[in-house]
Symmetry: C2
């Protein structure tokens, strides 16, 4: 039941946004009563935290699987963006789940925003690890390349969420490929 709620809520949060998705819709689509929902989660924002946590875990696990297919360690750096392209094609071009969740919070809620920042840092650490094992051309430093991949990736996902295509992500792949 808890898993079913997380699945349904995750899908709706990502497609519609956190604020746009009400408890009523979540329980209706999951086929679960309201009382049961509040047995498993203490509040709507508690559900959001659980969802974001699972999202980042799955993102890293999925990246491991995706990059394992790429033999050349240099190509894996560009593969970090290709992975995002694959994710977007699979999940409806709604951009980054963390960014979308962050935009759906009041400016007041610094606690939750801080937590999102920590999750984002986990993703950045993963990117940095891939780059450190890549043996790239060192046109720019490891750190600068990490900035490049993270910032270009996030910027391109912004375009993805607005235009509902992967054009910007493909531009990002081209820009990064020239540097590795």
């Amino acid at each position: 039941m808890r898993e079913r709620l997380l699945d349904t809520a995750g899908r709706l949060f990502y497609e519609q946004g956190y604020q746009q998705t009400g408890i009523n819709q979540i329980i209706a689509e999951a086929g679960i009563a309201k009382g049961s929902f509040y047995y498993h989660f203490n509040s709507k924002s508690g559900l959001l935290v659980a969802y974001l946590d699972r999202f980042v875990n799955n993102w890293i696990l999925g990246a491991d699987i995706f990059l394992a297919e790429i033999a050349d360690p240099k190509a894996r750096v560009a593969g970090l963006i290709s992975y995002r392209i694959a994710n977007q094609k699979k999940n409806g071009f709604n951009g980054c789940a963390l960014v979308k969740a962050n935009a759906g919070l009041e400016a007041v809620d610094g606690e939750l925003r801080k937590y999102i920042g920590e999750l984002k840092q986990q993703m950045r650490d993963y990117v940095a690890a891939v780059i450190s094992h890549s043996g790239h051309k060192k046109i720019i430093s490891d750190e600068a390349l990490t900035d490049m991949v993270v910032l270009l990736g996030d910027g391109a996902l912004v375009g993805t969420a607005i235009y509902h295509n992967t054009d910007d992500l493909e531009k990002a792949v081209a820009l990064i490929t020239a540097l590795i």
Copy 2:
């Protein structure tokens, strides 16, 4: 009155997000009755469109003023990001208004998302114009540099909205400076 509503709503939309801001709060802070609000705007999303339109106009006007202070046309390319740093410091580190508004819409509302895409294109055209007059080193093409500036800028604003600082934007300045 209409201007006062736009000012108040714009500030609240940007600080809190579109969905988080109710008509009641807008009219309370603007000191205007609900009936008067609906005399000036036909709906809440009508107000959003007017606000976004004005935002992009002001963004371009502000960029003109900001870049006029920079003598070297090459330095103006990096100045496009410095401009965003100045904006964020002035307005509370909430990222890009268009991105934030887009995240606050249902997936269903394709019409409004398309309009946001057009506004975003106006900003990109402005960036492309600055670059075409910059006489940069041509390490990469005009088009690739435009992608770079737009995507790095948007990506860095994502970090700004999450961490409430300009660290990522300053990294973007460094990356771009190395290319011009």
